[in-house]
Amino acid sequence: MSEQSGAQAMQFGIMSVSDITRDPTTGVTPSEQERIKATLAIAKHSEEVGLDVFAIGEHHNPPFWSSSPTTFLAALAAQTERLIVSTSTTLITTNDPVRIAEEYAMLQHVSDGRMDLMLGRGNTGPVYPWFGQDIRQGLPLAIENYALLHKLWREDVVDWDGKFRTPLQGFTSTPRPLDGIAPFVWHGSIRTPEIAEQAAYYGDGFFANNIFWPKEHYQRLIELYRQRYAHYGHGTPEQAIVGLGGQVFMAAKSQDAVNRFRPYFDNAPVYGHGPSMEDFTEMTPLTVGSPQQVIDRYAAMREHYGDYQRQLFLIDHAGLPLKTVLEQLDILGSEVVPVLRKELAKDRPAAVPDAPTHAARVKAEFGDGPTRQARPGANRGDNLTGDSPYQDSPAPAPAGAAFGLSRKEA
C-alpha cells in the first residue's frame, strides 16, 4: 500500500480521446510521436496542478493513437506520484476479458493501486470485425465479457463456459489483484439503459459521458442507475457511485475564450460543421468562457445529477496545441477545481460516499488488518489438477476455502 492520498469526496481530472487532429489555425497536424509525448506531458501536468485523475480512451483506428492504454498508463504511473490513471473507455466488447483481467491487474500492481478503468462498447462499428467480433452482439458481449472479467478478478481458479470465447478450465488470471482487491470499474454510457443496469447490478460505478448530448439524456440514465443500485441492495440511490464527463475552454475574459476556441470548435471531429458553438454550449455541458462561468456551470451539476464522485474534463482535443492545453490545466488547477471542490462539498450529505480509491476499498475489506498477498504454491508442473496455486500469507487459508482466502462470489 503506497497510495498516499487520503479520502476525497470528489475526484477531478481530465480525459483524453487521443485524437490526432490538424490545428485549424496553423494547418499543422502533429505526428503520432509528438501527440503521444504531448499527452504524457499533459497528463503529468494534471498532477502538478492538483488534479486527481487522468483517463485515456482506447481506439484502434486513425486519427486516434491510444490502442494500448495500459502501456501508456503504466509509463504515466511511473512518472507521477499520486495521480490515479484510468481509461475512458476500455473496450469490453472486443477485448478478450482474460487479457483485460491480466493487463489491468498488472497496471494495478505497478501503479500501487493508483488505477481504475472505465468500460465501454467502442466508438466505431468496424472495430468489432478487426477483433473477430460482431457489432450486432455489442450488448451481449458487454454483458458476458464483464461477467467473466468480474469473476477472473475475484476467483483464483475459474471454470467458464460462455457464448463468446473458448471455455476455461481451472484458469488462473495472473497477477492476482493487488491486496486481493479487484480494480474499481466504472461502466461508461452515452445512451444505453442496459449499461446503467449492469453497473447497478454489480454495485460498480457509472460514468455518464456528459459531453456530446443534452443533460436530459444523462439525467435519465443516472437516475435509472441510482434506482437500480438501490434495487440490487448496494445502498440508497444517493450512495451510488457516479462520474461525469465535461468539456471546457477558458480564458480570463469570456470573449477571449470564445474567439480562441471557435476555430477548434468549428472544425472539431464529432460536432464540427454542425451546430454553432453558441447553440452547442447551450445544449450540452461544453462551457467556453471565464473560469467563473465554468465554476457556475459545473457547480450546478449536482442539481441535475445528485452528489457525485468524479468529474473529468475533456480539454486536449480538436487540434488544440500542447501549450494551450497546459494553460487550460493551469487555470483548471488554480482557479476552477479548488472552488468546485468547495462548492460541491457544501451540504454534501454524510451518507454520500467518497470517491473510490484503492486505499479506501482495501480498508473496507480488511480494516487495518493485513491484506491479501497472493503467492503461488510450489509448481508441480500441473497447474490444473494440483492443490491450491496460491498460498496466501501470513495467515493460512481459512478452513473450507479451496483456494486461498475465501472470496465473496459475484
Binding site: 454483458i143 458476458e144 461477467a147 460462455g162 457464448k163 439503459p193 442496459e194 443496469e197 449492469q198 447497478a200 447490478y201 456530446f212 448530448w213 443534452p214 439524456h217 435519465r220 440514465l221 437516475e223 435509472l224 437500480r228 434495487h231 440490487y232 464529432v270 460536432y271 464540427g272 460543421h273 454542425g274 451546430p275 447553440d279 452547442f280 445544449m283 459475484a410
Partner: protein
C-alpha cells in the same frame, strides 16, 4: 368518444407549399373519416423546412436540438402518421429522408402511415410505390395500400377525370382511419423502464443467462 393523435410531416421546401396543401387535405379528410368511427382526432403538422438546420445538426452530432426533439416525439408518439414529400429525382426529397434518418429505426414499427407525394407531372406518380413505400416497409411501419399523389394539374383543374384528387384523398384517408380504428391507442414505451429492456419482473441476472443461474 375515443381520441387519437395524428402527426403530419410535410417536406415541401417552399412557402406556400403544394406539399403542405396535400398534407392538410389528407389530415382533414382523415379526421372526418375517423368521426365516422366515433373517434375524435387531433392533428399536429410538422413542416420539416422549419427544422432543416436542426435535422442536419442532429445528423452530425447524434442528438436532436430541443425543438426537433419535440417534433420527433410528436411523430413517434402519434397514433398514425401522414407523410408527404415532393418528388425530387424520382424519390422523396433529401429533407424528408434526413428526418426519417434521425428517428430511431424502431420508432415507426407498427404505426399506420398514409403516404402522400406531389410533383409537376403525373409521370412521377409511381414514385410512391417504388421509392417511398419501401422506406416505410423497411421501418416496419404499416402504410395503407393507397398512396395519394398530386400533380400540378390536380390543383389547376380536374387532372384526372376518372379518379379526381378529392376521391383519391378520400380513399387514402378512409384506409388510414380504418387502420387507426382497428388499433388501441399507441402506448408510450419508456426505454428507461427496466421492464422494457429486461422484461416484466426480470432482473439483470436474466440477461446473464445461465451465467447467473437465473
Amino acid at each position: 368518444m375515443a381520441t387519437r393523435r395524428i402527426a403530419v410531416i410535410s417536406a415541401g421546401l417552399s412557402n406556400p407549399s403544394s406539399t403542405r396543401m396535400l398534407a392538410d387535405r389528407l389530415a382533414a379528410e382523415t379526421v372526418k373519416a375517423l368521426a365516422g368511427h366515433d373517434i375524435e382526432a387531433s392533428v399536429d403538422v410538422i413542416e420539416l423546412r422549419d427544422y432543416a438546420h436542426d435535422i442536419t445538426n442532429n445528423l452530425l452530432t447524434g442528438f436532436a436540438p430541443p425543438a426537433l426533439e419535440t417534433a420527433i416525439n410528436t411523430v413517434v408518439s402519434a397514433d398514425a402518421l401522414i407523410a408527404v414529400t415532393p418528388i425530387f429525382s424520382t424519390s422523396y426529397n433529401g429533407l424528408f429522408k434526413s428526418f426519417i434518418d434521425v428517428l430511431d429505426p424502431d420508432a415507426l414499427t407498427g404505426k399506420p402511415v398514409l403516404i402522400g407525394a406531389n410533383a409537376g407531372t403525373a409521370r412521377h406518380s409511381l414514385a410512391i410505390d417504388y421509392a417511398i413505400r419501401p422506406l416505410f416497409a423497411y421501418l416496419h411501419a404499416e402504410a395503407v395500400s393507397t398512396g395519394v399523389f398530386a400533380a400540378s394539374s390536380d390543383w389547376g383543374g380536374s387532372g384526372d377525370d376518372v379518379a379526381p384528387l378529392a376521391k383519391r384523398v378520400e380513399k387514402g384517408a378512409r384506409e388510414l382511419a380504418e387502420a387507426i380504428a382497428r388499433r388501441e391507442t399507441t402506448a408510450v414505451v419508456d426505454p428507461y423502464d427496466p421492464a422494457t429492456y429486461l422484461g416484466e419482473g426480470r432482473s439483470f441476472g436474466h440477461m446473464l443467462g445461465g451465467l447467473a443461474g437465473e
